[in-house]
């Protein structure tokens, strides 16, 4: 039987992805029975959703983007003929 600490560690590190089948079954069973670990997993998911929402507000200034893309275009066209 996996302990809560092991379960929380596997979830936060995503080591469960590489875990052998037996351990993965253990993880699923533990989560089915332990609501604290389910709460932990929910909290991790919320972190991801929160971060996505937060970082979506990081958008480049359109004028800057166009300027950079212009430089890129120029470099790409030069590379082609040069």
């Amino acid at each position: 039987m996996l302990s809560c600490r092991e379960v929380a560690g596997m979830l936060a590190s995503e080591r469960w992805r590489d875990a052998p089948p037996g351990r993965r079954v253990g993880l699923v069973l533990h989560l089915a029975m332990c609501r604290h670990c389910r709460a932990y997993r929910r909290a991790l998911r919320r972190l991801g959703r929160g971060a996505r929402r937060l970082y979506r507000t990081v958008a480049p200034d359109p004028a800057w983007s166009e300027r950079v893309l212009g430089v890129v275009r120029q470099a790409a066209e030069q590379g082609r003929t040069g």
Binding site: S3, C4, E14, R49, A51, V58, A59, P60, A75, A76
Partner: protein, 205 residues
């Protein structure tokens, strides 16, 4: 713009060919699709203002210069992030700021008893981190993370790159990535809880 098919691990073959041919239209399209994610990545790595913008432009120019060497084994976005983080670590080598020693491991362990049972139970949040004060708190907590942990977390959760792609970009083993993610997520959780964000009463048994 809508994100391209989430977990496709490779670029379509035709597109790989156009990139390698250095087709100007394709290169520009790739740059256009990725300029925003790259800027987010630069921010995640701890760069601000002109530094973040400059490194994104440099990255795109290196991409154009080396496009004929794109091997198509990873998605072009993963490749671009690889260039970006190379550029960033070049810059860092000049002004090496060591990551603060932190004790998130012991904070994490203190939540469990000797048998590994929850001692201080995780709070079950009432709602998503949507409220403005929650977002502000999350931003502060993210800013407080050491750059590598924040970068690993953002590449996984925000850019949703696959685990192997993130390993390649950061040049770490899967084990090391696990450690970075473990520390980032637990530090964020602890930080939010300390700000009283993670909801209220956890009516445990």
């Amino acid at each position: 713009m809508a994100s391209s098919s989430g977990d496709a691990l490779r670029e379509p073959r035709q597109r790989i060919a156009s990139i390698r041919r250095r087709d100007a239209g394709t290169l520009e399209a790739v740059a256009r699709e990725n300029i925003e994610p790259l800027l987010r990545g630069a921010r995640a790595a701890g760069l601000v203002g002109d530094d973040a913008h400059d490194v994104v432009q440099e990255t795109l120019l290196v991409f154009v210069e080396k496009a004929d060497r794109f091997d198509g084994r990873a998605r072009v976005r993963t490749w671009l992030f690889g260039i970006l983080f190379n550029k960033i670590s070049e810059r860092r080598r000049a002004s090496a700021r060591e990551e603060a020693v932190d004790d998130i491991e012991s904070v994490f362990n203190a939540r469990f008893d000797a048998a590994g049972q929850w001692l201080r139970r995780p709070r079950s949040p009432d709602a998503d981190l949507a409220a403005r004060e929650a977002m502000t708190a999350l931003e502060e907590c993210l800013d407080g993370l050491p750059a590598r942990r924040r970068t690993a977390f953002v590449l996984r959760e925000v850019e949703q790159l696959d685990v192997q792609g993130v390993c390649n970009i950061l040049q770490v083993s899967r084990n090391n990535l696990g450690v970075l993610l473990f520390r980032a997520r637990n530090a964020l959780r602890e930080c939010l809880e300390s700000k009283g964000i993670e909801g209220s009463a956890d009516a445990v048994v």
